[in-house]
Symmetry: C2
Subunit: 314 residues, 2 copies
């Protein structure tokens, strides 16, 4: 598929439904809302949906967003590598043929949509979307620029991670020409913590465990620990980068309880270890430095499986 093909799809269809992935992050939301506003600016009808609710944390991207009323004619998934990530609350879109177009940057994309545009070299799905919009020559609004900047900044850890490319920097240099209040966005995305979050991090850090002579660190977030902390459980989201922040650690693992015997695993690695490969042995996937999977069992069983796998790569 070319950018021209995608722009033709926008032009020749209407009543778009844009799917973003469950547990939404800045990239899926930034890409999804940017596309929604862009289609509306073209005179089309478009909505964004998510299996979960849209988090408060990102509300600056949808303060003025109102869902429109229409019968869906065309479904676009953004930043979704696998139909599972659409979420069970939107099960009908997990069926084969339910998604017309998927725009994504994950190399592991399962090609589940009727048509797929994947650029695994793109730092963020938002960067692909920016390039499509730029190719079209159509002027974008400030809010579209802000959504795209947020997607790129969040998926690159504010230009910090290895997936940051010269293209990502140049796109953001161009997006700064719009009124996007980028430093306020970055402060909110990367710096500001609620007092509850600070408490959570204090608790989690004090309970961090080390393996393989300090090359692996692990935090385990059980339902009990989360309840005992007494703060909003949402404060426990996005802690995955903490274990890797300790000097000497090559692989940082966050184990988070989903149900009684089901744990969501987030893995972050330095150059020495392939996180995606590590998670594949547990039927997961993702990026080379950031990946995830789900493991069933008791916490002790899950940890034992992980430590066994860690010992092979450390």
């Amino acid at each position: 598929m070319t950018f021209r093909d995608i722009l033709d799809i926008f032009e020749n269809n209407d009543n778009f439904l844009i799917l973003t992935h469950k547990s939404p992050d800045g990239d899926t939301l930034g890409t999804g809302f940017a596309l929604c506003y862009y289609l509306r600016d073209m005179g089309k009808k478009a909505n964004v949906i998510n299996a979960d609710s849209f988090p408060d944390r990102y509300n600056f991207m949808y303060t003025d967003y109102k869902p429109q009323d229409f019968d869906v004619q065309y479904v676009i998934a953004v930043d979704i590598a696998d139909p599972k990530l659409i979420g069970s609350a939107l099960e009908e879109f997990q069926q084969e043929g339910a998604v017309d177009l998927c725009i994504d940057h994950h190399i592991s994309n399962k090609r589940f949509a009727k048509q797929t545009y994947v650029d695994p070299d793109a730092s963020a799905a938002a960067l692909i979307m920016y390039e499509i919009f730029k190719y079209s020559g159509r002027e974008i609004s400030d809010i579209i620029a802000k959504c795209l900047y947020t997607g790129i900044a969040t998926d690159t850890g504010c230009f910090k991670y290895e997936n940051t490319t010269p293209k990502a920097h140049i796109a953001c240099a161009e997006l700064m020409a719009y009124n996007i209040e980028f430093s306020a966005v970055n402060r909110r995305m990367f710096d500001v913590k609620s007092r509850g979050r600070i408490e959570v991090e204090q608790t989690v850090i004090s309970k961090m465990e080390y393996y393989c002579e300090g090359k692996c660190s692990m935090i385990a977030l059980t339902t009990k620990l989360i309840e005992d902390c007494g703060v909003d459980p949402a404060e426990f989201d996005g802690l995955a980068s903490i274990p890797l922040s300790v000097e000497g650690v090559k692989i940082g693992i966050t184990v988070k309880q989903r149900h009684e015997n089901v744990f969501k695993i987030s893995v972050r690695t330095t150059e020495e270890i392939d996180a995606s490969q590590f998670c594949q042995q547990f039927n997961g996937g993702g990026h080379i430095r950031a990946a995830g999977c789900e493991i069933q069992g008791t916490l002790e069983e899950v940890k034992a499986k992980l430590i066994e796998a860690v010992e092979k790569v450390c």
Copy 2:
């Protein structure tokens, strides 16, 4: 002064001494070492000095650096706004006429050198240096690119802060064409913490004080607290961004004891407050969102003065 004037100075002189500011950061060191390697590549003799020792934290910029033996003929200060910042260990360069050229990006630059090039719109001194090198057309080496990237990345908080410009993004997009291992640099500059540092942050955060209904937060680092913590005192450097990281805080203040009754104050602010102006009333200065000053008195007296000033701006 023009870039041409500066390049003529490099061409027409030799035996350069490059001064970096005391308590050196990534920008003064990145700019200083980039210039040193550039002059050496031109066939000139050049050294970098600092009133303090060069920190381990930045040693990837000077792993292979060896001081050269020569009689100094030309003195260049980089990223130094005020002769006081040269440091008392290098008192001879604080005298009038001791510095030939100063290249800086602080609007508060005191014009103490015989010639001064200041660009207050530059995100970092390293960005000015990059533009000078680029203007010259002379190829730069990987280590020069790495030093310049480090200067720009550290002074912009990895492109997060308001002082980040499109030019800073574009310069770094260009510098990424060199072998600079930018993600390893960023991980080291922004993410990795020693276990000692983690302990320090845990201690400091647990002792944070709030004023003005949570709009001001303050941490006080006394010599006693630092000694009691039992980790390397260097782990207490650069904590200034922590107070501002709490949700709702507009002005974050770090008070650090220098001597018995002398405290160094670091101030960080959100858009609502001018940090430089705030510090000027205590004869300090800096940037609009990050500034500093020194206040004498007991800790209680110093805090009282600060809180009085805070109440006027919150």
